[in-house]
Structures are given as C-alpha cells and as structure tokens.
C-alpha cells in the first residue's frame, strides 16, 4: 500500500467490515469490491466461452466431423454466443471499470444506490446460474444461436426456457446498473466537476447507460413473449397462429443492435483515457468525442434493420436502414481521427496499455470498414450469413471490446490492486495475442467472400486452407491469453508496489492512493476553473 500521509486510511482490499472473508465481498456495497466481483465472474465465464470457441475452431480444422457432430456444434456456438454476449461483452467494461472507476473519476464516494448496485451483481450471478442450468440439466443444450430466432426457439426440443429467462435476468441487471450510473453522474459529481469537465470514459458510460435503460426492456419483453409462446402458444410469433417471425427479429434487433454500442462505447471511452496519458498530451477534440458518443448512442437505435436485409423487408426500409448504418460510421470515424490527432506531436511513452490502445484502433478500423461492406445493400446480400460476418463481428466485438478491456486492465491494474504487473511478460502476451487474433479472424473474411457459410460444422474441401490457418491462429491467441492472465494473477501477489500515479494520468482516480481507501476521498475534491483543460 502506498504511504502518502500520516493518517493513512485502510484500503478497500484490506478493509474488514461486518462480514469477514468471502461474505465481506458478496455482501459488500462498496463500488470497488462490486467492480472486482464482476471482474472475477466475467473472467471465469470468459475462460469457459473461450474454451468453447477453441473447440469450434478445432472442429473446423478439417472438413467433416473432427471432434463433434452437427448437433453438438450447434449447441457449442449457441452457448459460446450466449456466454460471450450476455455475460461478458455487454456487462464488460461498464460493470467492471465503470463500477470501480466512475465514482472516483467524478469525485464521489460511491454510486448513488450502493445496495441496488450489489443487487445488480446478484442478478448477474442469478442469470449466469440460470443459463448454466439450461446447459447441465434437461433435455438438451440450447441450439438456436444466441439470437433465439422464432419460430425455431419455440419449436426446438432443447432446454431453452432457463436460458431465455437467464438472458432476461441478465438484462435486468444491466438496466439497474445503467440506472444507477445515470443517477450517479447526475447527482454525485464533485463541486466544480461540470458536464464538460467529465472524463471521456464517464461520458461514454453515460451514453451507454441510456441505451441500457431504453433498449434492454424491448428485448426483455421479446424474450418473455418467446417463453410464453413456448409454454402457452399465444401466437404472436407463430405463423401457424397468425403471428410473424420477422416481427421477432425486428424486436430482437431493436435491442441487440444498440447492445453493440453498449459494448463498444465504454471500450472507446477507455481508449480515450489511455491514449492522452501515454501521448502525454491533452485529448484532441474533447467536445467532438462527446458529441460523437451521444450521436452513436442515438443513431445506433435506428439501424437495427441492417441485420435483416434478407429476412423480407420493403426496399424503402432497406435503403433507410442502409443509409443510417453509414451515418453511424461518421461519429466512429471522428473518434478514430481524434485518437490519432491526440498522438500527433505527442511524446509517446510505449507501455503495455498503449500497445493495446494502438492495436485497438487497428482492429477497430478493420472491423468498422468491413461493417460498411455489410451495411451496403448489394454487398450484404452477397456475404450475408457467411464467415465474413463472423470475422467482422469478432473484429468489432472481440477486437474492439476485448482489446479495450485488456488495455483498461493493464492501465488501471496498478490502481485496482496497488501492484505493478511484469511489463515484459505483459508485452509478450500482447504481441502473441495480437498475432493470434489476426491469424484467427483475417482468413475468415477471405473464406466468407469465397462463400463459406457460418454456423456449419462442415465445409467444402476448397475452404480447407483458410480454416487450417484460422484454427492455427486460435492456438496462438489462446497462448497469448494464457500468458496475459497468468502474468496478471501472478503480479497481484508478487508484483512491485505501484505508486499513486504510475502513468502520469490526469484524471481524478490518479489522485487517490493505490489501492484506493474504502471511501475513496477523505474530502470530496473541488475542481477548479483552471483544471478545465485536462480532462
């Protein structure tokens, strides 16, 4: 623990409250402990999800059955998707780093509703357990894909009900976190912390929270309807009874497209914190970054139809959705230009978080530009439902959110644990992971253009070469992942003690000790007028 002054406060990791041991964590309303609870639960699920992904890649190393049959493959990609989407990338950065850092960044002692915050984590765990129930018990592992498309989702004989209900509970947890963050940002900013002084990470959490609040209930009710359809046969999505399965797709994507922005906005926010710190320069275009955040949050609502170009939609609607999809690219590009401009003429310190941030920009641009290939009507029809879509999606969601998450954990690790990780191995882990990532997903663009469909356990002989390369990449990537995680776990115990501000960051979290004391601040900081420039 960093000794800074005589009347040292006990830090949040060592604090002993009413309960001891693990109970002191799972009953803690401290935002920092809840952030770590999320971190650990997400990390565990991530290992499970990554293992399933690895198994899928291994199946695809050769045509025909390699290690699993078609039904198992269907179940594997469903569970991989459900775990990765609902349990990891949607809560991901907001629940972990938002919880841990946002109150400190705005100069508060905790979130507005600490108990509600703990309830959110409990709901998260309940949702996870429900979904695991669906996997372990009952007539079979869900095989619908993570999208639960009607009418198959109420026709399949597998154990879908607990999975759907689990997704609903996870959504509820996400809503409560968003609600909590909105109220916190509105009410608990320190004196002088005006809206236009908020760190950009907080701004992206703000935009994200609105999406969580306003989009999640739509998928909530849709999942309820699918469950009711399964149990009672109410007919709303069942063509036999007059319902329309395409309406299900609309309602599903009304949430699930904005959900992509729930994932990516906080990721962009973390990058906007890392880059100025390591460029040792103020962020370029602070207001433009805020406006682009809110623009992405808003326009992101109106583009869901681009998932459904081939599902049966009027030409007018297709043009409209395609045009709006192109609009979303503008604020995203503004962000990229601002990050690059921040580096321009900066004095760049090459350190692990910066490597992650720089590679984030690289993979995000590939993901974003291939997104335009999918957003354009003519090319979409050509590559729809091929490996191209999978590659694009993983470049954005795994490349974007994953790289940002690893950047964020390497950036804030000394603050969270008060220890510095081994930088050499962190850098080795990054480069191995990066090479593995590119080797794994780049061939899939090529395979998709050649016409290899997604979600099949088998393929034609002509796709063999690309798939071998891709599977090989998955092994490299998993090696990188093992190096990164081992290094982080090992350093939490054996790492050198980190100072208050090891990177020279300017935001408020770098003014509290590492790890922060229980209530963050002895005295709530007051932000002076002259400090307006730095955030």
């Amino acid at each position: 623990m960093q000794t800074t002054n005589a009347n040292e406060e006990v830090n949040y990791l060592e604090y002993k409250g009413k309960y001891s041991g693990i109970w002191g964590w799972i009953f803690s309303t401290d935002h920092k402990r809840i952030g770590l609870l999320y971190l650990y639960s997400i990390a565990i699920m991530f290992v499970v999800g990554a293992f399933l992904g690895l198994a899928m890649k291994l199946e695809l190393i050769a045509p025909g059955k390699t290690i699993m049959n078609a039904a198992t493959y269907n179940a594997t990609f469903t569970v991989h998707g459900v775990i990765m989407i609902f349990m990891i990338v949607i809560p991901g950065l907001p629940a972990v780093f938002g919880n841990f850092l946002m109150p400190i960044m705005i100069g508060a002692k905790d979130v507005a509703f600490p108990k509600l915050n703990l309830l959110s984590w409990w709901l998260y765990v309940a949702g996870v357990l429900l979904i695991l129930t669906a996997l372990l018990f009952g007539p079979g592992v869900p095989d619908t894909g993570w999208t639960f498309y009607a009418p198959y989702s109420f026709k399949t004989g597998t154990n879908l009900l607990p999975a759907i209900f689990g997704a609903f509970v996870l959504g509820f947890s996400s809503i409560l976190t968003g609600l909590n963050f909105l109220v916190t940002i509105h009410r608990l900013r320190a004196p002088g912390m005006k809206w236009l002084k908020l760190p950009l990470f907080v701004w992206t959490l703000y935009g994200t929270a609105w999406i969580q609040l306003l989009a999640t209930p739509v998928v909530g009710i849709t999942l309820v309807l699918v469950s009711l359809e399964r149990v009672f046969g109410i007919g709303v999505f069942d063509p036999v009874l007059g319902g329309d399965p395409v309406l299900y797709q609309h309602l599903f994507w009304i949430y699930s497209h904005p959900a992509v922005y729930i994932m990516i906005l906080p990721a962009m926010g973390a990058i906007s914190e890392i880059i100025p710190t390591f460029a040792q320069k103020g962020i370029f275009g602070y207001k433009a970054l805020i406006i682009s955040t809110m623009a992405i949050a808003f326009v992101g609502y109106l583009v869901w139809g681009h998932h459904m170009y081939t599902a049966g939609m009027s030409g007018t609607a297709q043009y409209y959705f395609s045009l709006l999809t192109f609009f979303v690219a503008i604020p995203s590009a503004i962000k990229v230009f601002n990050w690059i401009s921040t580096m321009y003429k900066g004095s760049i310190k090459l350190d692990t978080p910066f490597y992650w941030a720089a590679s984030f920009i690289f993979v995000f641009m590939i993901g974003g530009l291939t997104g335009l290939v999918l957003g354009a009507l003519a090319t979409n029809i050509y590559v729809h439902d091929t490996a191209f879509v999978v590659a694009h999606f993983h470049f954005i969601v795994f490349g974007g959110v994953g790289f940002s998450f690893f950047g964020a954990i390497h950036y804030w690790y000394p603050k969270i644990f008060g220890k510095m990780y081994d930088k050499y191995w962190a850098n080795v882990g990054w480069i191995v992971f990066f090479i593995g990532f590119m080797t794994l997903y780049t061939p899939m663009f090529y395979l998709g253009m050649q016409g290899m469909p997604r979600r099949y356990y088998d393929y034609l002989e002509e796709f063999h070469g690309g798939n071998i390369l891709s599977t090989f990449g998955s092994w490299i990537m998993i090696t990188g992942l093992v190096i990164i995680i081992t290094n982080l776990i090992r350093s939490a115990r054996k790492g050198e003690k980190a100072g208050i501000n090891p990177w020279g960051g300017k935001t408020l979290e770098w003014r509290v000790p590492s790890p922060p004391p229980l209530e963050n601040w002895d005295e709530i900081p007051v932000i002076g007028e002259e400090e307006s420039k730095y955030f």
């Binding site: 040292e8 406060e9 006990v10 604090y15 002993k16 409250g17 309303t29 002692k109 905790d110 507005a112 509703f113 600490p114 509600l116 809503i175 609600l179 909590n180 909105l182 109220v183 509105h186 009410r187 608990l188 609040l213 306003l214 989009a215 999640t216 209930p217 739509v218 909530g220 009710i221 849709t222 309820v224 309807l225 009711l228 009672f232 046969g233 109410i234 007919g235 709303v236 009874l241 007059g242 319902g243 329309d244 309406l247 309602l251 009304i254 004391p517 229980l518 209530e519």
Partner: protein
C-alpha cells in the same frame, strides 16, 4: 494499523431517488412499448378480426376497473400530502384504501379471465383453433399477455405500497423523508397510466 470506522452511506437525496424512479418508469414504458408495437402491427394487419374479437370483452367491467384505478391513484397522491402534514393515521388509511382498490381490480380481472376460460378462450385452446380466425387468436393472445403483465405490475405495486406502509409505521418514512412514498406513488401512477392505454385498445375500439 487502526481500522478507520466505516461510515454508513446514509446521505438522503430525494432528488436522486426520484430521478432513479423516473428512469425506471422509462424502462417500464419501453417494456410495454414493445407490446404496443406488436399490438399496432397486428391490428393493422387484421382490422376486422380485432374488431370482432374486441366485442367479446366486457366493456362494463373494464370501465369499472378504470374507475377503480383512477380513484386509487388519487388516494395514493393524497397520502403524499397527508404525510407532509404529519397526519400519519390518514396516510396509512389512504394507502390501505389504495391497496384494497388494487385488490378489487384483481378480483374483477379474475372473474373476467375466468369467464373467458369457461368459454374456451385461452392461449392454446382447441376451441380457439377451430372457431377463431388467426387475427382473433392474436387478439386474445395479446389480451392475455398485456393484461396479465399489467396485473403482475399491480401485484408488484401492492407489495411496494405495503412495504412503504410498514416503513411509515416504523417512522423510517416520515414528513421530512418521504421520497420512498412518493416513488411508490409514481410507480402506481405508471401502472394506472398503462391501464389507461390498455382499456381503449382492447375494450373500446371495436
């Protein structure tokens, strides 16, 4: 090292609670919003069937229930004024009346649904598949889902209000600290407002 005493976060910020409740209400509105979208789409696609099916519903019970909910909204609003005047007895009575009215609403709903069931109108019934058109099946599917979800909200609201009554009894909610009561009122008005839309959509437009 000496442990610093943990200070309970007991700062009371009624403004924050109210913002929180309003945000939750937005969420609820969008939850029902999804259903209203589905209703509009199917009404547009099956105008005649929806017209025909709506005539099966008992407008009288619907109207009575509307009045019941409106009155209960009034009583809970009055309780917020009563607590500020430190009239705790009246506050509790008004809240009790609200809960009783909510219960009467549910009883009416029970008889209404029961009558439908006895006529063979329920999701998945053989009778509906034989005698009803697809549009009518959809109408009743939505009718049961939407009024059922609304009834669930009534139950949650009742539990919420009873919980607040308990807090008032223990004086954890009092004339200087009544955000929780106000929030229960806001929630109850939401439940009421949703019914105000459900009633014409299912009972009146025919």
């Amino acid at each position: 090292m000496e442990q610093t005493k943990h200070v309970e976060h007991d700062h009371y910020d009624p403004e924050a609670s109210k913002i929180g409740m309003w945000l939750f209400i937005f969420t609820e509105l969008l939850l029902f919003g999804g259903l209203f979208i589905i209703y509009s789409v199917y009404r547009y696609l099956n105008p005649d069937a929806f017209h025909l099916a709506a005539e099966e519903l008992d407008t009288f019970i619907g109207a009575v229930n509307t009045v019941i909910l409106l009155v209960s909204s009034m009583t809970i609003a009055m309780s917020t004024t009563a607590i500020q005047k430190q009239n705790y007895r009246l506050t509790q009575w008004l809240l009790a009346i609200t809960v009783i009215l909510a219960f009467v609403f549910l009883v009416n709903k029970y008889f209404e649904w029961g009558a439908k069931f006895s006529h063979g109108i329920y999701p998945g019934s053989e009778h509906m598949l034989e005698a009803f058109s697809q549009g009518e099946i959809l109408f009743f599917g939505l009718y049961f889902v939407m009024t059922g979800l609304h009834a669930l909200h009534i139950v949650i609201g009742m539990v919420f209000i009873i919980w607040v009554m308990f807090y008032i009894k223990k004086r954890k909610v009092h004339h200087n600290r009544f955000a929780l009561l106000e929030n229960s009122g806001l929630y109850w008005h939401l439940v009421d407002a949703i019914w105000i839309f459900l009633f014409p959509l299912f009972y009146l437009i025919s």
